[in-house]
Amino acid sequence: MMQSILWEEELRGGQTWSYVLKRGTALRLTDVDGGANVSALFYNADFPEERYNMPDTLKAQHIARLTEGFVLYSDMGHILCSITSDSVGWHDPIGGTLNAAIVHAKYGDKDYQRHRNEWTQSSRESLLLELAKYSLGPRDLTPTVNFFSKVQVDADGSMHYVPGNSKPGSQVELRAEMNVLVLLSANHHPMEPGAVYAPKSIHLAVGQAAPVAADDACRVSRPENGRGFTLTERYFGSEARA
């Protein structure tokens, strides 16, 4: 859990945010009103060619959902972030990202001249703009983690968005195991039903994380994660923590 909060801010619905979360710090996302979605991208801030890898994260932990005790793997066998605390139970890694075509079809196009900050935006396009600030582009896109959203899969493979997954005040906390470039878009999940464009705001808190203990829940949750932590500590050499 976060030991001390350095600062807090509001990520307004429809808006995008980015920040380099240093190793040993933590980011807490709070779904203030319930029913929010945050689409997130993760990169090694010191070497962005290393980035979150959805299949490696799923395969190493035999999961298609994310919650407390699981970690986010890079494509290089390192752990970018650990999910150290979660009151939701299910965050979606496979449902995709809201793009301009979905916004156009589902919500219609509202421009800035007439609608000001109520205009319709898409997570894909917003995240690409945010990535460009770090000289990253479409080649660097990965599937997003869709925090607070749930997509369930039936035996025949059909995917279902499950409404009401996140209650007001729901929180998820990420501990950075590397220096992680985090990009967030607080916008609708692409599979969310409804014709009204009204993305929910998110409360953000950045703080100092407690040291990683030898019996850390994310580390010991599976042998794969133990090896992932070891490889990440080797990457940082003498900076390895107990």
Partner: protein, 219 residues
Amino acid sequence: MSLIESTLQPVDAILDVTIPAGDGWIHEVKKGQTFRIVDLEGNQAVDTFFFDAHDYTDRYSAVDTICAQGNIYLSTGTRLLTQNGHALMTITADTCGRHDTLGGACSQESNMVRYDIGKRYMHACRQTFLKQILKWKPDLNGRILEKRDIGHNVNFFMNVPVTPEGRLTFEDGISYPGKYVEMHADRDTLVVISNCPQLNNPCNAYNPTPARVLIWEAE
């Protein structure tokens, strides 16, 4: 699961190549052509990736493909979409019935995490992908392919179910010798294959086997 056979005959193909286990293949499939992958000995994972042949920045997207069709499995009727929403290929025949696009490709690094840190020396799919794309020519915009261009691929013939509880499992294959999947190119597509060399996973009985690829001209 609907199994659909093709009417195309191998004797009419303009290309017919066997890819040994652990080997790679890179080739442009032109718009209108039909492309078939055959699982020659059964239960092989044929890791396959796709780029828009004229713009390498637009590539196959696993999540856009499954989100658009509302189903995690690929089979007849699946349109393989890029992250810009363009259809590269449409699956038109399939005698296996189910193909995975969530499992991605094995790498030396993921083998270390999944199996043992000492497994780093073992051959892995992302080595094959890298080897293939690094030798390939630039696209029309002069862009070359590098590691950052390798997204998340299709694993033809692989069975990776997701449960309603959100678990991901690797099940025994449902493919047998001679099963194939066939797709029609909706645009000029650069296809990269790593015929998986994985020796740590029981889903191929620890025995990677060859695959065959064929291409037919447009009717």
